[in-house]
Symmetry: C2
Subunit: 207 residues, 2 copies
């Protein structure tokens, strides 16, 4: 799909980034970082992949780290949004937890290149940017922890270690980005369903 | 601990690699790959970290890929050994599954630098080496799948999707290498215990 087609920010990868040249550069950066790692990628590689000159890149991003930060920020904002929407939709803790897992898994499977960059290159961020991203991650953790606590309080869940189980649930979903293969046997939706069931078992949810 | 002290292959990192210069180079390569990624690391970097000349490195390893292959091969052999020992120790499927998870998690937490390199740089292996490593991974999968099947057959487990659940169990353990922090609140043993309990819940094990 090209940007010229009728499409929303949801359909076009990184549709939230404007102008078009800045968006193209971000897409190229994700590809390059996912393929060869952040440290082995130069801004020249990224500009080349986007069909632009290094000078054109510097109009939009001052450093390679600025590109990584932008990718990481948008990725983490989206992850938090997906979890918050699932958690805030009302209903039982079990239903909210299942929906949070389904949508978090779908995001990590569907956008696995982005997710890998976002997850594996945290150490390459500047100290200030890393602190900002870690704060977003703590908010995502808090959403899942909140659902687990609600389930324990209502007696629907049996969870002896809420913070450890929160960590495990998020870890299970995040690691989908590592192994998910678009040529594989399972669709993102199927993995989401399987994982929602496994996570409800982890918390011993009673229907 | 130095190699000069009385120590077995278990105590010294990469103690199975000889001579000492080859072992030192492997340790340096794991550090460099974990820090900056495989593609951004040069054989000169690795030799420098080990306090050797590039010429000394070439005596032991012809290419950077040979180092990665050696690391990946030893890491995967060890992972398979750990899982096979847990599976082969006898007892109930629940006990064997818990022990497999405990020991696999301990390995990924305790050797998280090695595990990250082994897990994230598979694409950098040559086609032949990649095929060899994928065969080892299928054998690890088969060990866990075998325990799940035994548990289903004996009626101890309730697992609607054995291959999907195998994938999830291994993924949960592997991702420990990504988030585990030696300064964190949990020891490798504590994470192993927590995860063994969560995995028994996933398979609805009846004691």
């Amino acid at each position: 799909m090209t940007a010229a087609q009728d499409a929303t920010a949801e359909d076009v990868p990184w549709g939230e980034v404007a102008p078009e040249a800045a968006r193209k550069l971000l897409v190229a950066a994700v590809e390059a970082f996912a393929e060869q790692g952040y440290h082995a990628t130069t801004t020249r590689d990224i500009a080349g992949r986007a069909g632009m000159s290094p000078a054109a890149l510097y109009i939009h991003y001052k450093t390679k780290e600025e590109l990584l930060h932008r990718i990481s920020r948008i990725g983490h904002d989206k992850a938090l949004e997906v979890l918050s929407a699932a958690s805030g939709r009302g209903g039982s803790p079990g239903g909210r937890l299942a929906e949070a897992v389904r949508s978090f898994v779908r995001w990590h499977a569907g956008r696995h290149d982005t997710a890998r960059v976002v997850q594996y290159e945290l150490d390459a961020l500047s100290e200030e940017h890393r602190a900002e991203i870690m704060a977003l991650r703590r908010r995502s953790d808090a959403v899942v922890r909140g659902i687990l606590r609600d389930g324990v309080e209502s007696g629907e869940f049996d969870v002896p270690d809420v913070s450890g189980t929160t960590l495990a649930v998020l870890s299970l979903c995040i690691d989908v980005a590592r192994w998910f293969n678009v040529q594989g046997r399972r669709t993102p939706e199927e993995v989401g369903e399987l994982y929602a069931d496994l996570v409800l078992r982890m918390v011993s949810a009673r229907p």
